[in-house]
């Protein structure tokens, strides 16, 4: 360790020590399930949680709206992560899953009965995402190498073209705009999105840190070894895809009740899949909370900092967005939030 870092960690180490009792409380209660934290990490996790939960009380309208959108995208990025990040089978087609759920909701309302209650449409839509997920996973996950990624990629392209082909039912390019929103009240709406996101985050973190997570990572590191150990890797790959489809469905339903409608560009286009990947990669693949952070970082940047504050035009915004993702890929390949996490671990010296 260089002397500068050394000196810094004397300060942060002491800070960490004073925070350690808080972290210990957490570790005793939950450490066995989600891993243990040092003092600084505890502050990061619970400080962020407190900030997220209280945002409407200190944020401006634009910031809170961006965070509302970010909550939905965080669900997408985490769902993508539990499948692609953990198993290493990169999916380029996750927008099909959220799109399937959103389109199911909209098409039920548009084609079956405008009065259908959310108690019906929401479970059916999430189920639809699961079914579509299995339809893609079953044939494709038996393959290895790049073929899985290519199949998911083609799946999006096909779904994107199917929408206008059945425009009588799907509304074609325009989509269906008659879906009811949860509410237009910006504060209530924020919690409608944040609460499911937190539930998904806790559930996926729990699974990822369990033995299931370990098997998924092992598939990424050495699939042959997993099979040799008597564990059916294909079964777990399909399981991970199904596991990913359910929160994708939840996110899709939230998004359709946020925008009040569906259209192929907002929901299906392959760009949306790539954006999910970008968020996960920027935050740090295979860490669940990393992609969550990545989603908040990128969306708050794109929809608030670069727009409301910097007032940039839309092409400039997207250029910066993708340039940043590229920079992370080149310089911080493990992701910004993983870097931050390990940094806190080092500077905390919580467990030497």
């Amino acid at each position: 360790m260089s002397s500068a870092t050394d000196r810094l960690s004397t300060v942060t180490g002491r800070l960490d020590q004073s925070l350690q009792p808080l972290a210990d409380g957490f570790n005793r209660l939950f450490g066995d399930y989600v891993g243990e934290l040092n003092g600084l990490q505890f502050v990061l996790v619970f400080g962020s949680l407190a900030a997220v939960l209280t945002a409407p009380f200190w944020g401006t309208f634009g910031l809170v709206r961006a965070m509302t959108v970010a909550a939905i995208w965080a669900i997408f990025a985490m769902s993508w992560d539990i499948q692609s990040g953990y198993t290493g089978y990169i999916s380029f087609g996750h927008s099909v899953l959220s799109g399937a759920a959103a389109y199911t909701t909209a098409m039920l309302i548009h084609n079956v009965d405008p009065g259908l209650s959310m108690a019906v449409t929401i479970p059916v839509s999430i189920l639809a995402a699961l079914v579509v997920g299995l339809l893609i996973a079953l044939p494709s996950l038996r393959l290895s190498g790049p073929y899985f990624s290519l199949i998911t990629f083609v799946a999006v392209l096909i779904f994107y073209r199917l929408i206008p082909s059945f425009s009588a039912y799907t509304g074609g390019e325009t989509g269906i705009q008659s879906v009811e929103v949860f509410t237009y009240d910006p504060i209530a709406r924020y919690y409608y999105m944040i609460v499911p996101m937190l539930v998904v985050a806790v559930a996926l973190t729990f699974i990822a840190r369990s033995n299931i997570g370990l098997i998924l990572v092992s598939i990424r590191e050495n699939e042959a070894a997993v099979n040799a150990a008597g564990i059916d890797a294909t079964k777990f790959k399909i399981f991970s895809f199904a596991l990913s489809s359910i929160p994708m469905g939840i996110g899709g339903v939230l998004l359709v009740h946020f925008t009040g409608g569906v259209d192929p560009t907002t929901f299906i286009a392959v760009d949306r899949s790539i954006e999910m990947i970008a968020m996960a990669v920027l935050g740090g693949m295979s860490s669940i909370l990393g992609p969550l952070g990545g989603a908040f970082f990128l969306i708050v940047l794109r929809d608030y900092i670069l727009t409301d504050l910097a007032n940039l035009s839309s092409p400039a915004r997207w250029t910066i967005f993708w340039a940043l993702v590229l920079a992370v890929l080149v310089f911080v390949r493990d992701g910004l939030f993983r870097k931050l996490w390990h940094g806190l671990e080092r500077y905390g010296r919580g467990r030497t």
Binding site: Q20, P21, L22, D24, G25, F26, N27, R28, L29, G35, E36, N38, F46, A50, L53, T54, P56, F57, G59, T60, F61, L63, V64, R65, G172, E173, T174, G175, Q177, V181, Y184, P186, I187, A188, Y191, A208, R209, G213, L214, V217, E221, T259, G260, G261, D263, T265, T266, S286, S287, D303, T307, D308, S313, S314, P315, R338, W341, E345, G350, R351
Partner: protein, 449 residues
């Protein structure tokens, strides 16, 4: 490996138990209390000040949207010079919708929730209008549509749930059902002039062309001797138009009515001009409305026409038209395209002044408590704008709150001007060729016919 995040050393397993738990419970409790407190968003500024704020929505990266933004600003300047709206200063806040419903929703929410606008004006793409209309209706902010012409916007909303949508109006252009009827009137005129009988209809596969695909054929064939011999839809991604033009040629069309709103219009025009297809090119071309289209197509657009509200800024449709165009050119002539306001510019300019006049009659702009008074004043108003006379249909008509068409004595729709690119030495010039009352030149047929 992922799970290395977990492998934190398990020290401090004993002791300090009470402190830890109490702190933890305290922290969670605090979070729970904060969440249950429903309060206001900190950043919302008060709306009860003495400024009348107008939010303008449009794809300002495109010439159409930029022309509209500038024109709305001209109207605002004009109001401020004359004492504002009910004595308040007027401020324009322009937002770029990017032509996308998602972005449109975001900027509209910002304008209403954060900037507290008193009036919304604009929206060019029908999909954007439909994407934001429920929210705007919910918030009761008066909204004057100035770009998109989709009739569903009023028939599917006001027609079904009038009270909910009564704060939404369209002051121009006339909706595309009426435009289709106007186009049929134009077809009859072309028949009188040249004897052309066979029509082809080629439309973008998009929401705004629905009326032209569904209504126009019947309307054209209602005139004796006219027939629609060819119809097709073009995907908005089409860049090779030869097959469509060949089909129209094979069907023996005298006129192709094309309805095209995307960048491919230049390729369409060039294909037609270079091959000298034996039919006239008429209809609606949004890119063709650009004052810069002559240069963009290197003159290939010669003889093509398009319908456009405001007649491209070349004809004195009302006493106000040329004053407005002159003011626009004086202010923005040196600032890059568009060099004229374009159709949405005419309508946005009119909408701002229209609302100011209605507000003066209603003597209020407080839509939260006096929306009905504002709605009544708007529906009673007969306004002369730069693009034409603006009066709106009432609640019980087929098109509630939509701008009325004007008609000649023969019942032909007259606020539906058609412009044509005509030769002007080595250059091209836009002339208004229809209706005859407003025409600045006669329609010219392509020289190769």
């Amino acid at each position: 490996m992922t799970n290395e995040d977990n492998n934190t050393a398990g020290s401090n397993r004993t002791g300090k138990e009470i402190v830890g738990r109490r702190t933890f419970l305290g922290a969670t409790g605090a979070a729970a209390v904060t969440t249950s407190l429903a309060g206001c968003l900190g950043g919302i500024s008060g709306g009860d000040d003495d400024v009348f704020r107008i939010g303008h929505l449009g794809p300002t990266e495109l010439e159409m949207g930029l022309g509209a933004e500038r024109s709305a600003q001209l109207a605002v300047d004009e109001l401020n010079e004359n004492g504002g709206v009910l004595g308040r200063d007027v401020e324009l806040l322009s937002e770029d919708t990017g032509g996308s419903p998602t972005e449109g929703e975001r900027v509209t929410e910002n304008l209403i929730q954060q900037d507290n606008v008193d009036l919304l004006v604009g929206t060019f793409v029908s999909e954007v209008t439909q994407g934001i209309i429920d929210f705007v209706a919910e918030m009761d902010v008066p909204f004057l549509i100035t770009g998109s012409a989709d009739p569903d916007t009023v028939t599917e909303n006001h027609g079904k749930e009038y009270d909910h949508y009564k704060n939404v109006f369209r002051t121009g252009p006339i909706n595309s059902d009426l435009q289709a009827e106007g186009m049929a009137g134009y077809a009859a005129y072309l028949n009188e002039e040249y004897g052309w009988e066979n029509f082809s209809i080629l439309a973008d596969d998009a929401a705004w062309t629905t009326s032209f695909r569904d209504i126009l054929p019947t309307q054209i064939e209602a005139t004796d001797g006219l027939s629609v011999v060819h119809e097709d839809r073009m995907s908005v991604e089409t860049d090779n138009f030869t097959p469509f033009l060949d089909d129209a040629d094979d069907a023996d069309a005298d006129v192709v009515f094309r309805f095209i709103a995307h960048g491919g219009a230049a390729a369409f025009t060039s294909t037609w001009a270079q091959n000298e297809y034996p039919f006239a090119l008429e209809g609606v071309s949004v890119p063709g409305m650009s004052p810069e289209f002559w240069d963009a197509t290197e003159g290939a657009c010669l003889y093509e026409t398009t319908s456009q509200s405001g007649a491209g800024g070349v004809a004195p449709l009302t006493d106000r038209s040329m004053d407005f165009v002159d003011a626009y050119e004086a202010e923005y002539g040196d600032e890059g395209p568009p060099s004229k306001p374009m159709y949405m510019g005419f309508n946005s300019y009119d909408a701002v002044l229209f609302y100011a006049e209605a507000a003066a009659t209603a003597d209020t702009v407080d839509y939260e408590s006096n929306l009905d008074a504002i709605v009544d004043a708007i529906l009673d108003l007969e306004f002369t704008g730069a693009a034409g006379e603006v009066s709106l249909y009432g609640p019980d008509s087929d098109y509630p709150h939509d701008v009325m068409e004007t008609r000649t004595e023969d019942g032909i729709i007259s606020n539906f001007p058609i412009t044509q690119w005509q030769p002007d030495g080595d250059d091209g010039v836009v002339e208004c060729v229809y209706p005859q009352a407003d025409a600045t030149a006669d329609h010219v047929e392509p020289e190769w016919l």
